[in-house]
């Protein structure tokens, strides 16, 4: 089966975020004063084969721990899009 996983990697709250600050500055300069904070992270979309949902999830978890995120500075969250048996996939149930 083919799964689609979304990995969200963010800087830990204690780590300052130069990119986020710069973007916030840019938004303020554009007149969007109501923005209080911006945090910049990564959004990785993986397509992978696995026997079942559990296997897919544990593989992505492993990849993220090993490579996709750096535990010294980053947190992560994984969302697995389960291919809905009724096809369609796209709008398929979002389960985390």
């Amino acid at each position: 089966m083919t799964y689609r996983a979304e990995v969200f990697v963010t800087l830990k709250p204690v780590v300052n975020d130069p990119a986020g600050l710069t973007i916030k500055g840019g938004l303020h300069a554009l007149g969007f004063d109501s923005v209080r904070e911006v945090r910049a992270g990564k959004y990785l979309v993986l397509t992978l084969d696995a026997d079942d949902e559990d296997q897919a999830r544990s593989r992505v978890e492993e990849m993220t721990r090993q490579l996709l995120a750096n535990a010294v500075i980053e947190d992560y969250r994984i969302e697995l899009k389960v291919p809905s048996p009724s096809g369609g996939g796209q709008g398929g149930g979002l389960r985390t």
Partner: protein, 233 residues
């Protein structure tokens, strides 16, 4: 001193390091391919600057898994001298051979310019020839050199004397204005607890000839030669 200069896909400063070692210092040096697994012939391993694997994901994140890195880890654990410059520093941190991480520069811009470094620790393998407090003029060239460590780690590396270089003013004062990238404590380079592994953001190999503006970078390589002499004695 037999030096190995590791070349990853995307490494840029390998040739500059070879130039500094062989042409300027007259020391034997060879390139080490990222797939090599044996470093037995070497006294010093340099991980040079560049943008291994395009700096995609995080600088150094993918290079850290190259086969050669297992050998580098063994080499370091056996007391071999390892110097990580710029991207090499980032790789050493990703490989957990050095603590902390390097974030985007606070300005969010790439910076290529001359900086002044104060030598904080003259006992590391790469600063034996320096006096504590000595100021070296060496260029930086990076977009992600903003040193970060969590408070406990930072406290520990400060306490253990693992901070080797700090960005400073020409007269040696450590000031906010002399910090080019937002590094915590103006940290420009650190060592492991044994002092045989050092990583720094500035490029000493670019400061080895008067013609190019400074010879202060030679101190690091000369220190390594002396460190080896010491071991040999």
């Amino acid at each position: 001193m037999n030096t190995g200069i590791v070349v990853f896909p995307g490494t840029w400063s390998d040739r500059d390091c070879a130039h500094a070692l062989s042409d300027v210092l007259g020391q034997p040096a060879r390139y080490v391919d990222h797939r090599e697994e044996r470093l037995d012939d070497l006294d010093l391993v340099i991980l040079p600057g560049g943008f291994s694997y395009g700096d995609y994901l995080r600088c150094g994140a993918i290079a850290r898994f190259a086969p050669v890195m297992e050998a580098v880890t063994d080499f370091a654990n056996r007391g071999g001298l390892v110097l990580g410059i710029c991207n090499g520093f980032q790789i050493l941190q990703e490989a957990r051979l050095l603590p902390g991480a390097l974030l985007r520069n606070a300005s969010c811009e790439f910076r290529c310019e001359w900086v002044n470094l104060r030598v904080e620790q003259s006992e590391s393998a790469f600063t034996l020839d320096c006096r504590p407090g000595q100021v070296l003029r060496i260029p930086i060239s990076h977009g992600e050199g903003n040193f970060f460590a969590d408070p406990q780690t930072l406290e520990a590396i400060e306490r253990n004397g693992q901070v080797v270089f700090r960005y400073c003013a020409p007269d040696g004062r450590v000031t906010a204005e002399s910090n080019p990238n937002g590094s915590l404590g103006n940290i420009a380079g650190i060592a492991n607890a044994h002092g045989n592994v050092v990583g720094l953001m500035p490029h000493p190999e670019r400061a080895c000839e008067d013609l190019l503006g400074s010879t202060d970078g030679l101190a690091l390589f000369r220190s390594a030669i002396h460190a080896l002499d010491r071991v040999a004695v």
